[in-house]
Subunit: 257 residues, 2 copies
């Protein structure tokens, strides 16, 4: 049996493992991530050019305690790993987080459940993304469907705004949001857009099935392509002529309904 | 009758008028504030050193339409008015906002009402303050009790995060929060702190009287002096071991109960 074949169980398992890793960078970020006992560290990447620093000693010590591989790279190679040489500070880490998985896996495991998800369709502001993760993690949300493109990337700003909850939040990775939503719909879930133009109020909306609440871009709202897939559209009524709520506030109101 | 006497009706009226003014600064901020037809502009202050610019022409035009006094100052005098020479960009405006008043006035007008207020006890982050104002203005909150010291000042960052709602939000000014809270208590209101250590859940708390919900500092929570005045303390239960919510998220959950 040739284990390099793309449909072989060994290949798929390996792919699933690498897909489950999240690479974070920045000294404080990596240090905080490693302090969480539930964070599994696969590899710690360090720039050979790093000068000695207390926080680096602490990071290496934590990595050794977790039994992780520690690799030293030249500056350019590290940049390719962190994908952000301006902010990585010579440190990156491949983490396996307890809540981070491909949405496929979630769908398999929760086929019959009446879950509630939040899907993000163009949330660009890192602080908003971090706050959404924090509120969803604290509230009654079973997963945050996060497309790889089109939203803020999980960077130190996001991690800070999440108050570190990104390391334990149920994050469901997908490539393309419309594809993922179609998969969820096929398995019986309802897709519901938040929109100030909707007629139904969030408070009066109580779906009988699993539901995915889609939050759109800070300025543009939910994209046209995603809107077309939505079964429902709900609004949050506002006083004093206020036209919209911050997207992270909207997420919190859904998470704590 | 000597109208300069500090207890004369004319003096008190004049004081009430000047107390009702909010001075904002920064070109974009002032421009946006003046675009709201409900904003009354008392005085526009400009630095003599300003070079011609389109936005300045627009600001002057709006000020003239509003029949306001326009005063040109040397740079130092303008700094004393804006209290932020680094960010005023040579422009400041004394505004009378529809929702901005001293808490005394609110107490007088709402003696028998079952109002809900949010009081801020050390919210330092301008973005949090702006978001709190936006959510409270959109939700079911009758006023935001904002002490002059100890919280972020209303600056361009706050105004931006408030999405401009600061110009219409019900802001109740006070000098000292403990003094104001004692006044409210004396008039029959309940004071309730938000605290993760509380035993009562926010959802299960339904006061029969007017209520002031106190939100504390982002790190420290409600101050000791204010805690001593609180009749109640409520929490928002959280999942996944999350220890706290962002203060602006907490405000939104109160505003949209």
């Amino acid at each position: 049996m040739n284990t390099t074949r793309e449909d072989s169980p060994a290949y798929l398992e390996k792919k699933r493992f690498f897909d489950s890793l999240m690479t974070v960078y920045g000294r404080k970020t990596v240090f905080e991530a490693l302090q969480d006992p539930a964070t599994y560290l696969y590899r710690l990447h360090l720039a050979k050019s790093n000068k000695p620093a207390e926080i680096l000693t602490d990071i290496i010590c934590l990595a050794e305690q977790k039994g992780a591989e520690i690799i030293y790279h030249d500056r350019q190679a590290l940049s390719r790993i962190s994908k952000n040489s301006a902010q990585d500070q010579g440190v990156a880490a491949d983490l396996q987080l307890r809540g981070y998985q491909h949405y496929d896996k979630f769908l398999q495991d929760n086929r019959q459940q009446k879950y509630n998800l939040i899907a993000l369709d163009g949330v660009h502001n890192p602080q908003n993304l971090g706050m959404i993760i924090r509120s969803a993690c604290a509230g009654n949300i079973d997963g945050i469907l996060l497309p790889q493109k089109g939203n803020a990337q999980i960077d130190p700003l996001v991690i800070k705004a999440s108050a570190g909850t990104v390391f334990r939040a149920p994050l469901l990775r997908c490539k393309d949001l419309t594809e993922a939503l179609m998969d969820f719909k096929q398995k019986g879930a309802i897709v519901c857009a938040l929109s100030s133009h909707a007629t139904t109020e969030l408070k009066k909306f109580s779906p009988e099935k699993a539901c995915i609440y889609v939050l759109g871009n800070e300025t543009e709202g939910v994209s046209h392509a995603v809107q077309k897939l939505c079964d429902e559209s709900v609004k949050i009524p506002m006083n004093n002529g206020v036209e919209s709520l911050n997207v992270a506030v909207t997420a919190a109101l859904i998470a704590f309904r």
